[in-house]
Amino acid sequence: MTTEPGTPRPTVERNNARTRWLHAAVYTTVLVLLLTGWWLTLGQEGRPSPLSELTGQSDAELHTAIGWVLTGVAVLGAVAGWRAARTLLTDSVRFRRTDLRWFARWPGAVVTGRFARHEGHFDPGQRLANLALIVLLLVLIVTGVGLWSVSGGPAFVWFNRLHRWATYVFTPVIVGHVLIASGILPGYRGVWRAMHLGGRLRRRDAQRVWPGWLERTDAAASAVKAEGGDGTGDGDEPRQARFH
């Protein structure tokens, strides 16, 4: 890399490969679970969904099998990526008073891209979504395993209720996340790259959505460069420069 100071690369790495793979594993399993779960709830049991036709497994079997895959991925992710998981959690619970301004300007900014400044690794809306997603996924996994383990009876009735209610809340949150993260909304254009392909997004998109994070990443990168590193910042590196 022959990046001169003052002319940084036009893109910046946001999520490393490991995070991206974990995210992809979670969302493919979750999408299958949502589809088969809703299929069952809507009384389609026995009538194979397109996914069930494709695999030759009934939707109920498919759901439980993929449920176990998600459980495995979640446990693996939490164990192997405990540092990242902890960061996700600690970054997501940190709110400050000025975030209220961010929320106030958010509805307009979604269209104009003129978000109020925030200092977080995630924007305040993401932090709320993260907390909701983590809690709901945990509830879904615990009650899902509960459903499987008791198979029926009075405990099943409660697991089933919780599992369903969690699904009702989880679904709109996921729809919102995908709507925002896909970059369909003008304010969030380009952010999808943060989690896909190389995990690099354009600096001007980062500047708009995660300004404080971008500044810290740049500061960390130039500090590395001053020490003779190549400054490309492999993955977790900029995280060390996080504010506390």
Binding site: E45, R47, S52, S58, V150, S151, F156, V157
Partner: protein, 124 residues
């Protein structure tokens, strides 16, 4: 778990009447009770769900997922008792039946009222 109707060797025409009898109380998933999967020839990926009425009559229509891909001829009719989470509870039964040509009137009085525009008779 037992199939009371149709009896083994019977010739049936669709829609046909199914009566099952099991030792368990049946109900939809959210009651935590057992239910029954009905399918043909051991293919349990496409099935009718029976969630009530032990020993009562259930009508299996052309629209039933259980009938998917079932051609006229000899078939095994399977029923399987399921836990509320849809896993097999162990009890199963089967009878061999001959499915008549559709619309050929294999048995008396099943011709005109086909009513295929009716939704499948799940009672939620």
């Amino acid at each position: 778990m037992e199939i009371v109707e149709p009896t083994g060797g019977a010739e049936i025409s669709v829609p046909f009447t199914l009566v099952v009898d099991s030792s368990e109380e049946l109900g939809p998933t959210d009651t935590g009770n057992h239910h029954v999967h009905v399918y043909f020839d051991g293919d349990d990926s496409s099935y009718e769900v029976i969630e009530s009425g032990n020993g009562e009559e259930h009508e299996i229509t052309v629209d039933s997922p259980a009938m998917e891909g079932v051609e006229p001829g000899e078939h095994t009719l399977n029923v399987s008792l399921r836990n509320a989470d849809h896993s097999a509870a162990g009890a199963e039964a089967e009878v061999t039946v001959t499915v008549g040509e559709e619309g050929s009137g294999g048995s008396p009085s099943d011709d005109e009222d086909d009513e295929s525009e009716e939704p499948p008779d799940y009672d939620y």
